[in-house]
């Protein structure tokens, strides 16, 4: 997609839906498919007012995804009993990611480390974008990223089968 062209919601979906789904799965969110749908419904509503290039579009879509994730976490804190009931119902789609070991390793990180690592590498945002999105300083983002990657590597090394 080029700079400032008219985009259809469907084209934005085709370009970014997989990344948004991966973002929610990497964050170990409950029902990542539904959250992805919510994000693109919001994108559809607001796309007419969006102006910017592909990088800005990616930043905007992941900003919506980030806010949706924060809303979901707040809702789960306020209404844990409802979510427990919902958790008992079977998911409509198999949420198994393509790299379950990595997703499990991400689950071992602190919330901040996981958020930064996922936004940097799964959402593919720059350090400055992540800093703005999360309200942290660039230095803090870099530090959390480095510690998160180190922790991930250590966990994956410790759980991977030893090479003969």
């Amino acid at each position: 997609m080029s700079r400032d062209v008219e985009r259809s919601p469907a084209s934005v979906y085709e370009a970014l839906a997989a990344a948004v789904l991966g973002y929610f799965r990497a964050q170990r969110m409950r029902d990542p498919e539904a959250l992805t749908g919510d994000v693109f419904v919001a994108v559809t509503e607001k796309l007419t007012g969006f102006r910017g290039d592909d990088a800005a579009l990616r930043r905007w879509v992941f900003t919506i995804a980030h806010h949706r994730r924060v809303d979901e976490i707040r809702r789960s804190v306020r209404q844990p009993e409802l979510l427990d009931v919902a958790a008992e119902s079977p998911p409509t789609v198999d949420p198994t990611p393509i790299d379950p070991a990595l997703v499990e390793a991400l689950d071992r990180l602190t919330s901040d480390q996981r958020e930064i690592v996922v936004l940097r590498y799964v959402a593919d945002l720059s350090v400055a974008d992540v800093a703005e999105l999360t309200g942290k300083r660039s230095g803090a983002v870099k530090m959390l990223q480095a510690r998160g990657l180190a922790a991930l590597a250590a966990y994956l090394d410790s759980t991977s089968p030893t090479e003969a």
Binding site: A19, Y23, G37, T48, Y121, L152, S160
Partner: protein, 210 residues
């Protein structure tokens, strides 16, 4: 595991395919969602409305001369550029002139206190409750037969002096009314009642009080 391999695995998470059933459901939801036509204009409209409202309100206040004096001066200068005539603040020039004078500090302070307060100048507003007259002047300074008589409130005058002033005023104005008023005022000042204060009590006392 080196960092490149790890980051490549992380980036691969973004390449997960969306299951067809999920993709179709999402696209159906999106197709059923109307685009918000006002989105993107909302902030601009609010900002524009706020600016227009502020300008209209402040220009109206400036035209009425109701702004605080420094703001009134600024409005006068700025709007003069676009050929809009609004009154100038009055206190500012008065205070400025006093500050530049050779008076002592105490005299300057006293003179500043006498400068008009508020933004209602001679060319703007109705001036209700505010005086447009120079410091020390009286409302009827040009008419000796109106307003406070010359002996009112002057306790240091002797009875003879007061009588002389009364006679002079009576001769000039040809009526006893003001003299009665003055007697009443004199009585108020001295705490002594008037001789014939009956019908005159309710007439012009506010003028003398003011």
């Amino acid at each position: 595991m080196d960092e490149n391999e790890l980051t490549n695995r992380l980036r691969a998470l973004a390449d997960e395919t969306v299951p067809d059933a999920v993709r179709v459901a999402h696209l159906q939801r999106m197709a059923a969602t109307p685009a918000d036509p006002t989105h993107g204009f909302g902030r601009a409209w609010v900002a524009a409305a706020a600016i227009v409202g502020f300008l209209a309100g402040s220009t109206g206040l400036a035209a009425a001369g109701a702004l605080p004096d420094p703001a009134q001066d600024v409005a006068h200068d700025v709007l003069a550029v676009v050929q809009v005539d609004v009154p100038e603040g009055k206190r500012g020039p008065c205070v400025s002139a006093i500050a530049k004078s050779d008076l002592s500090q105490a005299e300057k302070k006293s003179a500043k206190d006498d400068c008009p307060k508020g933004g209602n100048g001679a060319s703007g507003g109705d001036g209700a409750g505010k005086s447009d007259e120079a410091p020390g002047s009286t409302k009827h300074a040009d008419d000796p037969c109106k307003g406070k008589p010359p002996w009112a409130g002057k306790k240091d005058l002797t009875t003879e002096q007061k009588d002389a002033l009364k006679a002079e005023r009576a001769a000039t104005c040809g009526t006893e009314r003001e003299a009665d008023d003055a007697d009443e005022l004199e009585g108020d000042d001295d705490g002594v009642g008037t001789e014939d204060g009956g019908e005159s009590e309710s007439t012009d006392t506010t003028e003398a009080d003011g």
